[in-house]
């Protein structure tokens, strides 16, 4: 469905020096700086996939989406979306895609919501039957009727986002781009958004590309993730792969009845190499970090409980959030992909 080959996008920025004199100097002769927002990115996405596209702020996510939608022209590389080069044939590509930019709206701010839908219906030339059927489906998933007669500017953020996602799906696009669709939403609204995305993906095999900072979105929706950092793709693969690679780190923390005083060799007790466990002690709190593939949680708990009186214990598995932050810090991921 989507094929990107070595696409790059650089922007020319004019750097100005500080202060008044710098400003005046910059007015005449600003320093030209070329910034590569996206740097040699390649990927292939199949029909019906739900892709999580993640990266820190300014990593190049939105720039990629803007190239895929045909808004920006890549500086170099090839791009094909459903057989169409988006930036060359933008209008034709636009019929196949739906886009939600979380920080913007495609709705008419001053008009009642329902007017926006009927305008979009005409722009995309959606037939009356399709329009009716889709509005009913949106009603099921997104409950728009509570506010469909209100002007868009009076909607709450959650309502507006629900309306925006409905707007992007009105013409049943083959590909749906969601650029931070759950930004600033409360839990309930988030659940509704996710439900709508899931329903569309299941019913129409809509391919979905989702950028987000909310890793629950990723875990709920995506079967594959792309991680971009500094304009380069540093990971492309299944979410489960990255979880087994990084997610085996586990921590168990105990609260002991008495403060920890004796320095027993825990590694010896657990019959492992001392470098395989990380022990942290803070008075009556004991925290043991280990790799799940070497030690089991049960074994660790058993050993500790046999030797000490434990009042409380908590098991912490690595969440995707800390995995991602680790990857951002480390750079390139060395998970083998096939």
């Amino acid at each position: 469905m989507i094929e990107a080959k070595h696409i790059s996008k650089s922007f020319v920025k004019y750097e100005k020096e500080k202060g008044l004199i710098g400003m005046i100097k910059g007015f005449v002769n600003a320093k030209k700086v070329i910034k590569k927002a996206v740097d040699d990115v390649s990927f292939t996405i199949q029909e019906g996939e739900v892709i999580g596209y993640i990266g820190a702020n300014g990593a190049g996510k939105s720039t990629t989406i803007k190239m895929l939608t045909g808004i920006l022209t890549p500086t170099s590389g090839e791009l094909l979306v459903d057989g169409i080069i988006p930036y060359k044939d933008r209008v034709r590509n636009a019929r196949n895609i739906g886009v939600v930019f979380g920080q913007r709206t495609q709705l008419w701010w001053d008009l009642p919501l329902v007017e926006s839908f009927s305008i979009l219906k005409e722009i995309y030339q959606v037939s009356d039957e399709d329009y009716k059927a889709r509005m009913e489906m949106f009603e099921d998933v997104l409950q728009l009727s509570e506010f469909i007669k209100s002007p868009v500017r009076t909607l709450s953020l959650g309502q507006r986002m629900r309306a925006d996602i409905a707007a992007s799906l009105l013409h049943n696009p083959k590909v749906l781009y969601l650029d931070e669709p759950t930004i600033g939403l409360d839990v309930n609204a988030k659940l509704k958004m996710r439900q709508a995305i899931k329903t569309m993906n299941k019913t129409f095999k809509t391919t979905v590309i989702l950028t987000t900072h909310d890793l629950d979105d990723i875990e709920e929706l995506c079967n594959r993730i792309l991680i971009i950092d500094n304009g380069k793709i540093i990971y492309d693969g299944a979410l489960s792969d990255i979880k087994t690679r990084y997610g085996s780190d586990t921590k168990v923390s105990f609260v002991l009845k008495e403060a920890w005083t004796d320095f027993v060799d825990l590694a010896h007790l657990m019959e492992v190499d001392p470098k395989d466990i990380i022990v942290k002690v803070d008075e009556d709190k004991l925290e043991i970090g280990f790799d799940k593939r070497i030690l089991s949680v049960a074994h660790v708990a058993q050993v500790i409980m046999k030797n000490y009186e434990v009042t409380d214990l908590k098991i912490m598995e690595t969440d995707i959030e800390s995995i991602v932050s680790r990857i951002y810090n480390e750079g390139k991921v060395n998970v083998s992909n096939d």
Binding site: K66, A94, R104, T105, D110
Partner: protein, 272 residues
Amino acid sequence: MFQTIKPYWAYAKASFTVGFAYRLHILFWVLSDLVQVGVLLLIWIAIYGNSSSTSMQGYTLAQMMMYNLIIYMTASFTYMKPLFDLADDHFDGKVAMSLIKPTKYIYEVFFRNLGNNFVGNIIISLPLMIVLSTLTVTANHGVNFTLGTTILYVFSILLALLISFFSNFIFATMVFVTDATFGMMQLNEAVVRIFSGSLIPLSFFPGWLKTIAYILPYASVYTVPTLILMNRYTSSELWINLGIQLAWAIGLIIGANLIWSVIITKMKVHGG
């Protein structure tokens, strides 16, 4: 053809609805323009009052006042200001939301402006047309609207509308390059005001200034329809001027499309 235009009418309908909801906004805009026209009329009264002859450059005072009112009406019939749209879309990054739609941006903006233009026509241009027609019938001001001149006027206005939009669009694209909206607006206004004939009839200009005015497209937007309605052209002048209008319209449509196709590949989209 009809199928390809149909989606665009939705934009016109939307901006018409929004524009009509904010009609007070437009009304005040109109009133401030009317004050300016009023001042111009007073200046002409003073000038004619201090002149020994009753006619200047072929205009009596009554004709000059009609000229000012008709050119004002023509200006509001052809009111197209894509600069506001482009500046707005550019600085908010809203242009991204236009570019994800299966329509061409340039024609989207055209129809958006057309919607606003209709609002203006309903609350200013058409009422003014009725008032002026009544004036020419009831009193002798040296100007007579005939059926023939009115039909030609409408035709000329349609061409003027295209010239107005596409020339202003080309001017407005500079916002994407310079990032300087307010200055561009002022410059645009000033150039249009002087060289369109809306300040004084172009026949008052010295030769070289007249040449500049006729090299620029603005005379075709304001002066030509106005003089057609006032029946001041000989028939050969009439057809030449309509021909020039047509040439401007076609040339500017092509030019605007070319310029936009270059700008769109180099564009930066602000925000997010």
